[in-house]
């Protein structure tokens, strides 16, 4: 069985560690030639998935297809066309960056001549290539890890939180590099917690929670229906504001944000924020604050709160702090541990 046009596919992938399931039937479909953002809260199973995809561990159940062909225990050669950076980069601390890449090039697929110098240049380590890795900063090790993943010019690149420790210029450079690779027809599968970065980088995203896929698709489409307008009114006017807005969006689409501080979330396309404003004004209510956006963060938090696949209804901003703060604009990681509302 092959899935044409998919660089990577998993079907019913399961993996437990002891009694704890890390993956509970994961179905991923990664098209060729795209940057795929692989998202999920801490402990969702992203790194576990990467390890399975590189044969470091083996699934308890389910199948994996890499570059259109099935990938099992005996198929290590398939990895000759795959480059990976999993969790933290791995190097001999007593060897230089250049010698580490040389040592790595002695394994797996052959590496073209000049490739190591090319990569050191690409990741901005040419000057420091002769220094021992133990003298590198966090971001420099990460850069070297990215170079290592690119060593054999892979058709499929698996990067587990590659932006970890990179400075802003490094992040921009990495984004450009990855976009460039995708433009060449290569597939980049990248996990990240930096959602703003993923939003800029990825063509397609998959969000997992508790070892299962909860949403997958082209990022533009997924964000289309994810608009929200957040308004803040006087506490005494919350009910009146809700009444004023229900005709616009329907009863279920207006909700108070936890915290009793007058914030309301209106589920409506971000582009229609002015309509919300007008409806309020017509009812004689004036919002003291109004925010609109259809960002990935909102979608992510919505999808990954509590149990995977639980109803999204009425949980959108349930996590907002109980203090006077506006709705969550950061702290995506907190969402994973949040209980059901």
């Amino acid at each position: 069985m092959t899935n044409d046009g998919l660089a990577l596919a998993t079907r019913g992938l399961q993996k437990r560690f002891g009694t704890r399931p890390a993956l509970a039937g994961l179905d991923l479909s990664v098209p060729s030639g795209v940057v795929y953002g692989f998202l999920g809260p801490n402990g969702a199973g992203k790194t576990t998935t990467m390890r399975l995809l590189t044969g470091l561990i083996h699934p308890d159940a389910g199948t994996i297809e890499v570059l259109g062909r099935s990938f099992g225990r005996a198929d290590r050669h398939r990895l000759f066309e795959v480059g990976a950076l999993i969790e933290s980069p791995s190097f001999y601390p007593y060897l230089s960056g250049r010698d580490n890449l040389r040592a790595l090039a002695a394994t797996g697929a052959p590496t073209g001549p000049g490739r190591i110098e090319e990569l050191l240049e690409l990741v901005g380590l040419r000057e420091r290539g002769k220094d021992k890795v133990q003298t590198y900063s966090l971001g420099m090790k990460q850069r070297l890890g990215i170079a290592a993943a690119l060593l054999s010019d892979p058709r499929l690149l698996l990067l587990d939180e590659p932006a970890n420790g990179l400075d802003p210029a490094g992040i921009v450079a990495m984004r450009e590099t990855l976009r460039h690779l995708a433009a060449q027809g290569k597939t980049v599968f990248v996990s990240s917690h930096v959602l703003g970065e993923v939003q800029q980088l990825a063509d397609v995203i998959g969000i997992i929670a508790a070892g299962r896929l909860v949403r997958e698709g082209p990022i533009d489409q997924l964000l289309l229906g994810e608009g929200a307008v957040r308004i803040r009114v006087e506490l005494a006017e919350v009910d009146a504001a809700r009444t004023a807005l229900v005709p616009l969006v329907g009863d279920a689409m207006v909700e108070a944000i936890a915290g009793d501080d007058g914030w309301l979330a209106v589920h409506i396309a971000a582009t229609r924020a002015s309509e919300v404003n007008r409806a309020l004004a017509q009812a004689g209510i004036y919002a003291s604050a109004l925010e609109a956006g259809n960002d990935l963060e909102s979608l992510f938090l919505e999808l990954t709160r509590g149990e995977a696949g639980a109803s999204h209804e009425g949980t959108f901003f349930g996590l907002a702090g109980s203090n006077d703060a506006p709705p969550p604009r950061s702290g995506a990681a907190d969402a994973s541990t949040g209980g059901p509302s």
Binding site: R51, T54, G55, L56, I57, H58, R76, H77, R78, L79, F80, V82, G83, A84, I86, E87, S88, P89, S90, F91, Y92, P93, Y94, L95, D99, R102, A103, L104, A106, T107, G108, A109, A148, L151, S152
Partner: protein
């Protein structure tokens, strides 16, 4: 082959390689010099026996068995450090993720250790001989036996036996650290096994001669100078010891290969 060559390059740049060889040569030199310098203060048989260490041609095989005795602990630590760091640093993970054969990677990495042990052995022996000549001069012993052709003719075989024995001890450390999946735990467990075997001789005198370190020191037949057993317990006959050592070596490599193939690699 690429992995083997890369393995040698890695070991040549690794501080542990030179620290291990340096310690071995340093200890050997200290002992030889100390023996020759103090020989004059002793009398009778004791003085004569200690001077055997710097009296050629007999000194050749005595120095070799000395290296073998000291080398056991160093070899197990070195083997454990190399294998364990592959897990601790995640470099085995990186190779496997590139599609490299797990057992192939491990065995070729070990092959590089085999070469390094051989080179180290030759260097240590050469250094030992030089120090022994100096010692002989200090103690006023003739070095006329240096060119004894009969002894020199036997040396290659003795060297090969010692090489195999130290390689076996290194393989043991390699296997232990692979099972421990960690550099520190591997070195700790390796040292534990080494001294455990020495202690076992108190309780299991009949069995202990078959254990890896005692068998290794028995591979080169000498009058029992040096070596962890110190000659207190029965030794295997050298050729029997050779077979036992080969069996331990194969066993250690097999365990390494099978465990690595089956391991779930994380970190």
């Amino acid at each position: 082959m690429r992995i083997f060559v890369a393995g040698i390059r890695k070991l040549l740049r690794r501080p542990a390689t030179f620290v291990t060889l340096g310690l071995l040569v340093g200890l050997l030199g200290l002992i030889l010099i100390a023996v020759s310098a103090t020989a004059g203060q002793r009398t009778g048989r004791a003085a004569q026996e200690s001077l055997l260490l710097v009296t050629f041609p007999g000194a050749y095989s005595l120095i070799l068995s000395f290296i073998l005795g000291l080398g056991g602990l160093f070899a197990v630590i070195y083997g454990a450090a190399i294998a364990g760091s592959e897990w601790t640093w995640g470099t085995l993970k990186a190779a496997v993720a590139r599609g490299e054969s797990r057992s192939g990677y491990q065995l070729l990495s070990f092959a590089a250790i085999v070469v390094m042990v051989g080179v180290g052995l030759v260097l240590a022996l050469a250094a030992g001989v030089v120090v022994a000549i100096i010692g002989a001069n200090i103690a006023g012993v003739s070095t006329a036996g240096l060119n004894d052709t009969e002894t020199l003719g036997k040396m290659p075989e003795l060297m090969a036996r010692a090489w195999l024995a130290i390689v076996e001890e290194g393989a043991l450390g390699f296997a232990i650290a692979t099972l421990a999946r960690s550099q520190l735990a591997g070195i700790g467990a390796g040292i534990g096994v080494y001294f455990g075997e020495q202690f076992a001789s108190i309780f299991l005198p009949d069995i202990v001669k078959y254990l890896p370190f005692n068998a290794a020191t028995a591979v080169v037949a000498t009058s029992g100078t040096g070596g962890p057993g110190g000659g207190a317990i029965a030794r295997l006959e050298p050729n029997v010891a050779l077979l036992v050592v080969v069996a331990w070596l194969m066993g250690a490599l097999l365990v390494t290969a099978i465990f690595t193939e089956r391991a779930e690699i994380s970190g």
